[in-house]
C-alpha cells in the first residue's frame, strides 16, 4: 500500500485513485477508530485520570479526526493545496472555539443573572 501526498500541480484525479489503499486497510482504520473511542470512554469513567482527562480526551479526539481526514477523506493523497484549504477552515474554527472558551470560562466568566434574585 502506498499512500503519499502529491505536490501541488502534480497529479490528476485519476492518478489519485492509483494511490488508494486496500479495503482491508480501511477496515483497520475503522477498528482503530472504534478502539480509540472505547479508550476515550474508559478515561471518562476513570477517577484516577480526572486531572489529565481534558487534554487526554482532546488529544485522542484529534487523533481520530486526523485518521478520518487523512485516510477516509484521502487528504494524504491530495495535493498540498487541498490540505491548506481544509486546514485554513479547521484551524480558524478551532481558534475561535478555543478563544471563546478561554475568554468566557477563564478570563471573564459570564455573570449569570437569576430571575429569582432580588433587586
Amino acid at each position: 500500500m502506498s499512500v503519499t501526498q502529491n505536490d501541488a500541480g502534480g497529479a490528476t484525479g485519476h492518478q489519485h485513485e492509483e494511490g488508494h489503499a486496500s479495503a482491508m486497510f480501511y477496515v483497520w482504520i475503522g477498528v482503530i477508530l472504534a478502539v480509540v473511542t472505547a479508550v476515550e470512554v474508559g478515561i471518562f469513567y476513570m477517577e484516577a485520570l480526572s486531572s489529565i482527562e481534558v487534554p487526554l480526551l482532546i488529544l485522542l479526539s484529534a487523533s481520530k479526526i486526523v485518521l478520518v481526514v487523512m485516510f477516509f477523506m484521502h487528504l494524504k493523497m491530495e495535493p498540498r493545496f487541498i490540505t491548506g484549504l481544509f486546514m485554513s477552515g479547521a484551524l480558524l474554527g478551532t481558534f475561535m472555539v478555543a478563544a471563546l472558551v478561554i475568554l468566557y470560562h477563564f478570563l471573564r466568566p459570564l455573570q449569570v443573572i437569576s430571575p429569582f434574585a432580588g433587586g
Partner: protein
Amino acid sequence: MPLDTIETNGRNDMAQAAAAVDDHGHTVTGISNWKVGFWTFIASECLFFGTLISTYMVFKGNAVTGPYPADIFDVLHTTVSTTVLLFSSLAMVLALYAVQRANKKVAIFWLLVVIGMGATFLWMEGTSYLKYIDYGLTLTSSTFGSSYFVLTGTHKLHVIIGMVWMSALIWMIARDRIPPAKAETVEIAGLYWHFVDIIWIVIFTLVYLIQ
C-alpha cells in the same frame, strides 16, 4: 490606453483562464473544480460548526435552571451511536472503493449500509432527545438546552441530507450513471459524510465526555 486594446487584453485573460481548465473540468492544480469547490465548502462548514460549538461551550455552564449536562447525558448510549456513525464512514469508503472497481452491487450494498447506520444513529439520538425532554430539557428551557439542541440538531440535519444524497447515489449507480471514470461523484458525497462524522467526533468529546 485605447478602449479596444483593453477589451483585447480582457479576452486574452479569459482565454488563458479557459486554457487552465482541461476537457474533464480539471484545474491547473490537477484537481477537478467540483473537488476544490467541495473542500472549500467543508472549510466553511468548519467555521459554521465552530460558531455552534463555541456557543454551546460558552453557555452550557451558565444555565440558571436545570437539568444540567451531568444530570441527563447517558455516555454509554451515545458511545454506541458514535461507534455506529464511525462505522458508517468505513462503509462509505468501501462504497467508493467498489465504485472505483466497477463493482456495482457491492457499491449499492455499502451505500445501503451507510443509510442504515445513519438511520440507526438518528433513531438512537432521537430516543435520547425524548428522554431529555422528559427530564425538562427543551429548546427554550435554558441556555444549555437552546445551545445543545441547536448544535446537535444541526448535525442531525446534516446526517439526514447525507442519507438523501446516498439514496440518490444508489439510484444513479443502479442505472449505470456512475462508471469508475465518474467515481468522483461518490468521492465527493463521501467527503461530506466523513465531515459529518468528524463533527460528531468533536461533539462527542466536547459535549458528552468533557462535561
